[in-house]
């Protein structure tokens, strides 16, 4: 993001209006996805409230500015979360928040150990504010935050920032409590650190 672009984005903010409502769609049945998205929505709601806007996470996809999950809506950005096949060539308006199978395979290949599983997130992470996020999730739901919950939380946060900052998704940088800026590459996949887990413990960050 250049300085000029950032300032241009700020100039848009006063035009949001006092009653600006940001509606994001989320259709899911998995409890982990629902919880992650819910925490994301509560936090986005608080941020939006500070900035004079209102945030709503809805299951009715009419009039939403973005969708989180796997339900495509023509002309609306989709932030994908959860298991999927290889996404293939990038499509306009489709961006992948959860890591793809190919990304996880590549990460595992970089790791030289044996028997590891590659994950997007783990409830034992503590650095870079991960402990705070894990703690917020755990105290809110009485359950640990796993990869799907994190991706759902992250996707809702990305959707909210997209609306509040009024900048193209490709230009934005996000904080996912992973210690590095996260952004969408040319392949429309979120560029992010991944973790190798062996016997329930994080043994490497890739």
């Amino acid at each position: 993001m250049t300085r000029r672009e950032f300032l241009a984005s700020l100039a848009v903010l006063p035009l949001l209006g006092e009653e600006r409502v940001i509606r994001v769609g989320h259709v899911a049945s998995d409890e982990r996805a629902l919880r992650g998205a819910q925490l994301g929505a509560e936090e986005a709601g608080r941020t939006a409230g500070l900035l004079g806007a209102r945030f709503e996470l809805v299951t009715d996809l009419d009039g939403v500015m973005a969708v989180v999950g796997q339900t495509e809506r023509p002309g609306v950005p989709l932030l994908t979360t959860g298991d999927m096949n290889e996404p293939g060539p990038p499509r306009p308006n489709v961006f992948h928040v959860s890591s793809t199978p190919a990304e996880r395979r590549a990460a595992l290949a970089r790791w030289s150990g044996e028997g590891g599983e590659v994950v997007d997130w783990h409830p034992s992470l503590t650095r870079f504010g991960a402990e705070q996020l894990n703690s917020r999730f755990e105290s809110r739901f009485g359950a640990p935050m796993d990869s799907l919950a994190w991706a759902s939380w992250m996707a809702v946060k990305i959707a909210a920032e997209l609306a509040l900052r009024a900048m193209p998704l490709e230009r934005l940088r996000f904080d996912g409590h992973k210690g590095e800026p996260l952004w969408f590459g040319e392949d429309h996949c979120l560029q992010q650190p991944l973790y190798v887990v062996v016997e329930g413990k994080v043994v490497a960050e890739l």
Partner: protein, 318 residues
């Protein structure tokens, strides 16, 4: 009469000794504050203050340091801001500042403290020893700075990427604005017309016009910078940024809005402070457990002072 005169002289002498300029470093893991004599760059006192000392401020007569327990989202007796004497010999007072106070600002008269409560997502205002207001700010509030005229307090929030503006008279949040990802700290210019907000994940410093509370410029720190602490030079011409994981200090030309120099320091500098004459900048280095002393004219580290474990914040006598 003679005895009284001698006592008077002694009082003046001890008074002047206490007024010597010191740097105060909070050591999060040691539970102590290291007091460094700026004339010799030697630790002259180490005061045991309590659990997890982090934010630290000086208001002239006293030094304040924020303490917290290790339990999240729960307030305990370990959560407090304590005040101690400038020589770093004894604790004088203990104040309630809400749950897990991390960073804070203090008014010039020392009567009022503004603290961020990270897990509660609030800012607490403590006036004459009592919490008089608990304000909702952004999520995971962290950096706190007070304008030189005492009118505004800025509170950064790491997760919502916001800065909330507290009107110190009304004791209310009157505005909030977005900055780059993970804002960690804020500092006002000496004139108070600008504020500088670091964004750790954004790798930037936002420049804020304090008349309108709007970001007017964003300075990219480049490379591996993960900016945390920030301070403006007394003449307002330079802004110094502790680059955290970048293990360096960025020197910004405030008029140009550009980094003009990057100075390697110890490992993981978080807190940063500048001497009253602007000739030295001190960083508290959390991983190397030391303080780097920068000669601002030479643009390099001229001394390294060993302190306690987990050096976090640093403040210098006014």
């Amino acid at each position: 009469m003679k005895v009284l005169a001698v006592l008077g002289v002694l009082a003046v002498l001890s008074g002047s000794a206490q007024a010597a300029p010191f740097a105060y470093v909070s050591n999060e893991r040691s539970g102590t504050v290291s007091v460094i004599d700026l004339a010799t760059n030697k630790v002259v006192s180490t005061l045991r203050v309590g659990s997890r000392p982090r934010g630290i401020q000086v208001n002239g007569k006293r030094v304040f340091v924020a303490l917290s327990d290790t339990a999240r989202s729960a307030q305990s007796a370990a959560d407090a801001i304590v005040a101690f004497d400038p020589a770093g010999k004894r604790i004088l007072a203990r104040y309630d500042a809400g749950s897990d106070p991390e960073q804070f600002a203090v008014t010039r008269d020392g009567s009022t403290l503004f603290a961020s409560n990270e897990d509660a997502g609030t800012a607490s205002i403590t006036h004459q020893g009592k919490v008089v207001a608990t304000l909702i700010v952004g999520i995971e509030p962290e950096g706190v700075a007070i304008s030189p005229d005492g009118r505004w307090v800025y509170v950064t929030a790491e997760t919502s990427n916001t800065v909330s503006v507290i009107d110190t008279q009304a004791r209310k949040v009157v505005a909030s604005f977005l900055v780059d990802p993970r804002p960690r700290a804020a500092a006002f210019s000496p004139k108070g017309d600008r504020a500088y907000v670091t964004a750790e994940i954004g790798g930037t410093v936002s420049v804020v016009d304090t008349a309108t509370h709007q970001v007017i410029d964003v300075i990219d720190l480049g490379g591996r910078a993960k900016p945390v602490g920030v301070v403006a030079s007394p003449d307002g011409r330079r802004v110094y940024v502790a680059n955290g994981h970048g293990n360096s200090v960025a020197v910004i030309d405030a008029a140009k809005g550009k980094v003009i120099h990057t100075i390697p320091v110890g490992r993981r500098p978080w807190g940063i402070a500048v001497t009253r004459d602007g000739k030295r900048v001190y960083t508290a280095n959390g991983l190397s457990n030391d303080v780097s002393v920068i000669d601002t004219a030479a643009g390099r580290v001229v001394a390294t002072v060993k302190v306690g474990e987990g050096a976090w914040g640093i403040a210098i006598s006014l």
